[in-house]
């Protein structure tokens, strides 16, 4: 009887320890991918402009579905029922589009492969120059219709790049397209992050001589100082509920972590030790912060709540564990570690279990950042001899470069646009 009671108490307390922060934890090896074929995307020549021939609409959708990690794309002729059956295709797409200035029109259809019935159909109309956005919307709609999940085809990545000699901040679609320069102050611009609404960014810049954190609007020319209090102000991260920013600031040479309200008021200090505490990142519910600290003598990853209490250590192995990023899907942390003379992207559960190394023998791989649906990770890699931004699945498979031609650093993936 006593033993039974004791066991009940023990299991109860384990439940408390693990908490209830785990959202549906679908790893890419868990969800069964759907076999899909992509049929013809017809350019309605009668209606359309000559220029529309160059819109790679089909390629955009194919790439989106490929990268989403929800599908296995079969190269089968959708008209050949036998081949489709043999390849076990479950659904297929067909679409048509045209341009009648100033608009781009797109008609996307999803068919069930067995019955050959339309199961989803939608029309899109956008200003011609935003045609990519309409096509990405269709890809996201397909993902949502089939899996009930939000796709990331319309998300963006900002990063610091040396493509114009000095490091400026750039923005691009998650697939590397539509690259645009955001800052052009001729100075050093580092560690950018998106605002919660994706309409602003925070970053460290030396544009006024000292390293301060600036806020720049993505849709207007407005730039203003956001934090100038400390000697070194860096690594900002905007909270998922949009009301606070966590960052690291230095006093007397020592870096600590602070939180400030988005309106620039009410700073509170979270770490007080004499070692470097830096690179903070929010949990998906905004209640906790994962960060790097050297308080034990080497760079390790810790977690604390948003008031600096309840500090727990996450990593114990190796001496240089940095740049933690919390999965939007639950209690997993991606980070980089120094192993065999190189930096590698790793993943670990918050309780220290399920350690996995995601990159291997491919240069230095650093600064992982999750897609907002937690299905993909972007990071930098020097495997080609310079620093490129890559994206990969969360099990480390399918590592694909999305930038090239320059040295790109510190990628930050956008949030989902609310209501969009």
């Amino acid at each position: 009887m006593r033993l039974r009671l004791w066991l009940i108490c023990l299991s109860g307390s384990w439940g408390l320890l693990w908490g209830d922060n785990t959202i549906l934890n679908i790893s890419s090896s868990g969800v069964k991918k759907m076999s899909i074929a992509i049929g013809s995307f017809v350019l309605d020549k009668e209606n359309s402009l000559e220029e529309s021939k160059n819109l790679e609409v089909r390629t955009i959708v194919q790439n989106d579905l490929f990268l989403s990690d929800f599908f296995e794309i079969k190269s089968v002729d959708v008209g050949d029922s036998l081949a489709m059956k043999k390849a076990l295709v479950q659904a297929y797409l067909q679409a048509s589009y045209y341009v009648r200035l100033p608009y781009f029109y797109f008609f996307g259809n999803l068919f069930d492969a067995v019955s050959r019935n339309i199961i989803f159909s939608k029309e899109y109309k956008v200003k011609h120059e935003f045609y990519r956005n309409a096509v990405h919307t269709f890809s996201d709609d397909i993902v949502h219709f089939l899996f009930g999940e939000r796709g990331v085809a319309r998300t963006k990545i900002i990063f610091s790049s040396q493509r114009s000699r000095n490091k400026e901040i750039y923005i691009m679609d998650y697939d590397g397209e539509s690259l645009k320069q955001v800052t052009s102050n001729g100075s050093i611009n580092l560690t950018p992050c998106f605002s919660h609404q994706n309409d602003e960014l925070l970053y460290t810049s030396y544009l006024n001589k000292r390293p301060l954190i600036y806020l720049t609007s993505l849709y207007s020319d407005r730039t203003q100082v956001f934090i100038k209090t400390y000697n070194l102000n860096m690594t900002p991260s905007w909270s998922p509920n949009g009301d606070e920013v966590v960052f690291s600031g230095s006093v007397n040479g020592n870096l600590d972590i602070y939180v400030i309200k988005v309106n620039g008021h009410d700073v509170r200090r979270l770490t007080f030790d004499k070692a470097v505490d830096s690179s903070p990142s929010w949990s998906p519910n905004g209640e906790e912060i994962v960060f790097m600290s050297m308080r034990t003598g080497s760079a390790q990853i810790f977690v604390m709540d948003r008031y600096g209490a309840n500090v727990r250590r996450v990593t114990y192995v190796r001496n240089q564990n940095e740049a933690p990023a919390w999965s939007p899907r639950g209690n997993r942390i991606a980070y980089h570690t120094f192993e065999n003379g190189q930096y590698e992207i790793c993943m670990i559960d918050l309780d220290g279990g399920n350690f996995r190394q995601l990159t291997r023998d491919s240069g230095n791989n650093e600064d992982p950042n999750w897609s907002p649906n937690g299905k993909l990770i972007c990071f930098t890699s020097t495997r080609a001899g310079f620093s490129q931004i890559f994206i990969m699945n969360t099990d480390g498979s399918r590592q694909i470069p999305v930038t090239t031609g320059s040295n790109d650093y510190s990628p930050s993936w956008s949030y989902f646009k609310e209501g969009g």
């Binding site: 050093i188 580092l190 006024n208 040479g253 470097v276 940095e322 980089h336």
Partner: protein, 200 residues
């Protein structure tokens, strides 16, 4: 009750009332002079408050103006002129080097900084900026923190020698401004440095 005791009671109560009640007669109406004096006092205090507000606004505007002026400071000249005294500034302010992943000062660095302190005590108007730099190994963020520690190391040593803290500014550039862009040990050694900017 007898008539006598009734009269006594009434008389007692009446006199008690007369003695104890606050005299209506003491409530005089305020004279005009008094009113004028009070009004003047009120106006004066209002005037003082307005004056204080105006001064506060002026001070704030002045501070903001000063701040802006500081940001647009003219850049420090590259060539350091030797003063009339016997300081070899080029030697004195040569870069201080650091070991890999370290921010502590070597003995040579300390000896150099002893001389720097002497210089600063002789030329009281001179201010210093100490820049902390790193080689390109380790991450951007790690190196920003390390550069900050290196610059602080130098500043802290100088302040323990009695140099006022406000005369020394520190700034970390991490790995962002290498002296030598090559990827070899020679370049890395040169890049792990604290660099001085002298303001006279």
């Amino acid at each position: 009750m007898s008539k006598k005791s009734l009269i006594t009671a009434v008389l007692f109560l009446t006199s008690a009332w007369l003695i104890l009640s606050p005299g209506c007669a003491s409530k005089k109406k305020l004279g005009e002079a008094e009113v004028a004096r009070l009004r003047q006092a009120y106006e004066d205090s209002l005037q003082r408050a307005r004056e204080a507000d105006r001064l506060a606004l002026e001070n704030q505007a002045r501070e903001e103006k000063v701040e802006e002026t500081v940001i647009e400071e003219t850049p420090v000249p590259e060539k350091i002129e030797a003063p009339a005294v016997t300081f070899n500034e080029e030697q004195l302010f040569r870069n201080i080097l650091f070991e890999f992943d370290k921010s502590d000062l070597s003995w040579e660095a300390r000896e150099q900084l002893n001389e720097v302190a002497k210089y600063l005590k002789t030329l009281m108007q001179v201010k210093l900026t100490v820049e902390g730099h790193c080689d390109e190994r380790a991450s951007i963020e790690y190196n920003l923190a390390l550069g900050e520690k290196r610059a602080s190391s130098v500043k802290n040593y100088l302040t323990t020698l009695g140099i006022e803290a406000f005369r020394i500014e520190t700034i970390s550039y991490g790995e962002e401004r290498p002296l030598d862009p090559r990827k070899n040990e020679d370049a890395y050694t040169k890049n792990r440095r604290a660099q001085f900017l002298v303001q006279k």
